[in-house]
Symmetry: D2
């Protein structure tokens, strides 16, 4: 399947403002970037580097006044979603070295405090994929979905206490519960087809049966196509839009995902 | 100066228990490992890998019954501590790529919530080293030192609310305050000469004036030698002793730091 | 300056043929990729990974029959070329760790055999940039330029013996001579504006005065814009088009570089 | 099995001489470093970093006059050597990304020139381990072993032409032949038990059947224990002792490997 995805961000900056962006998707096992554009208006110097998670990070300083960032991509993605029922739990000692990072608690995923809860949720489930699927469904049923993000990000435990959150919070809670069962889980930021209202989205991946599988507790039942922008431990690692200095609120943000013919 | 440092951990495991350890110091700009031993009793298979922060990580499964881990090193360290008074703040856009990671909030360092506080503490200080020094002194005066760690780790904000903590909490609060001023700061786990009572210790480094400087809010005035075991964003990244599965409490732990002649 | 660059490769494969390509430029300090497309006809599954030098590498299997690869990019590059006259030699002990790799002999750059020659060429030159400039001029005057590449790649010493070569050989000889003076030097594959006849090009960078500078012994006098595709030790590291199995000769190859308005 | 291995190098330097050493073995899947010492006499500042292949590299400047380097390790290694008969060839498209590097020709391994020869040697062998074993035996029978290294290193093709070489040349030829069959192969520098005369040794690993297997064309029949010091593409990547500036010949070099009780 071929998708056109994109994101347009408009800012008004009272002063020059350093930005760190993760808006350029990388080709990988899941997706092939067939076409792409990334424009800055006005054009300012920008550099790009790879972070420790393999994400392409754009660094630049937005000038005083109006500034516009536009990233568009045509991406070929595998048509079907993951189907991993029955995939087994991988014991800690058999995990690949680079998955261990995703067992450890992180800024927004206090997995060190959720072990009892995770055991309750997955009671009777086969260790592995089926536990993660149960966690994803539980998070979906337990949290009320808020269409608008709180400006102050909250953690998995805080979201659980409030009983509501945005997609990011759903993902954090799913991740934290998986890790508390020593199942590696990581955050994904990206685009989801037919999301309503359309916006950048967040979900998670869990490592079972020898590879990473996709789970989306916000939209668990659907079979829609996804484009990955960035991977990390939680939202703190994948700051799709990160700004340093006096806060700047985007004056406009437009995200789109369209299926293309052929 | 030449130090002999070491750590002996004794466990009783009711079942085979996966461990992840960061107990082998690396030679680097700060320290040269002249001699080292790392023994496991009984000897079990163990492997080692490098994590994304450059730490050497030991992986093994402790067997049922008594298990003993002993790591000893003779380390040559530079004699004097950092003196960076007046070193300037590095603007975000001028930071090296690999320092940006240490600007972002992490599991135990909620820098996204401490900006106002950090501004108060550093009011009137020259941007850079002098701000960090003010933060380190403030943390030292503000938190009461607890000799014993809470089994449940707490965050910088929680430590601040309680008004007390262990060395790890002092470091977390210092780190979180630095990051809120867009000064990169990272956690260090290691050995400190003449620590009383002797134990593994934690402090932090901040990036000002073009390099990393050492700060220790728990022991700010002293000029003692240090050996670095591991670096990371916070205690969640540097699990000097990390255990997966049903909790196992060390039945014994002995840490030593001795200055050697010559 | 804004350039449109691109490369179209057409193959006829008698059997499925694994390919490794380095045809997707990365944004970095030198260049910003404003727009890009990468198409495979017929569309086959492809993945991408980063090699140890930071290049984006595309992996795919070309099917039996006709196959077409087309990569196009619009790239914003800094308008002027490097001017580093007088930049000083950096002693080995002061080089950054990641430059040391580029001191060591490699497949096509036998720097271990060219020390005496390099000393002759740079006699009387100030250590650093001026030595490299002298080397680049010497290579330019010493080798006769061949418009067509030998199908069997040759080394720096072999090119020197033959007295002729393609751009790749010019670069190899420059690199080998620099390294023999303990000046780090690395291969660049990419696009050069107004190259005649137009093709993919190769030049080199040398590390003096604290950063990498561009040198092109094939086209030393010109001030044309460049787009980097890949960096490595020599041509063996930057196989812009690498094919495994029974040899396949491209039935067509078209490269273009156009300056864009604005 | 527990081995004590070590290397003592004595130098006389007419001027301060930068050195790059790979004499500190790392723990990994193959070996556990139980005890280690690394001393410099006189003690000079030294730092250590990781190269792109994962080797620990020591950097220092040997002072004018006598200088002594001594590295000793007690290493626990798996008792038996690899037995991989019948392990299958992995097609290029199924290789892990990080093995592709070891398919490409390198400084001393001109695999691009040895395809016909490799096909002759492995005629009738099952693709994979059995091909590599045939290559290793062929190299052993074809090259005459020289106990003393030529001061000027030679390549695989040069060794083949001369019909003789040191262990390094045997390994290079084996590696080059494997790569010409698109079997990844890499150089290993290390210690071999009971080598006669005792010295640092070189052998190679080939990737078949999903993992790296050990082959030693210099000592193919034996079942002795090995300790790995460094891995790379060929001898140019694993400069166990690398010196920059005017050549310095070690005035003494002593290597030992002893089996320890228990």
């Amino acid at each position: 399947m071929r998708l056109e995805v994109g994101c347009i961000i408009e800012l008004e900056c009272a002063q020059p403002t350093p930005l760190l962006l993760l808006l350029r998707p990388r080709s990988g096992a899941h997706q092939w970037i067939a076409r792409e554009s990334y424009s800055l208006t006005p054009q300012v110097p920008a550099t790009e580097y790879l972070d420790g998670f393999g994400n392409l990070c754009q660094r630049l300083v937005a000038p005083t006044g109006s500034f516009r960032i536009e990233s568009r991509s045509e991406v070929i993605v595998a048509p079907s979603e993951d189907e991993g029922q029955g995939e087994v739990y991988v014991p800690v000692e058999a995990l690949p070295d680079d998955a261990l990072l995703y067992l450890i608690p992180s800024r927004f995923c206090e997995s060190d405090r959720l072990g009892a809860r995770a055991n309750e949720i997955t009671w009777g489930r086969a260790p592995g994929y089926d536990q993660v699927a149960a966690i994803s469904r539980w998070v979906h049923s337990r949290l009320r979905y808020l269409p608008e993000s709180d400006p102050m990000p909250i953690s998995a435990c805080e979201a659980l206490e409030r009983g509501e959150g945005v997609c990011r919070d759903f993902a954090h809670l799913g991740i934290a519960l998986c890790r508390s069962l020593t199942i590696p889980a990581r955050m994904v930021a990206g685009y989801l087809q037919d999301l309503e209202p359309m916006d950048l989205h967040a979900w998670f991946e869990a490592y079972v049966g020898g590879r990473w599988y996709t789970f989306d507790p916000t939209h668990p039942d659907q079979n829609k196509a996804r484009v990955i922008l960035a991977l990390g431990r939680d939202a703190a690692d994948v700051p799709v839009f990160n700004q340093f200095g006096p806060p700047v609120t985007p004056s406009g943000m437009h995200v789109f995902v369209r299926e293309m013919p052929g």
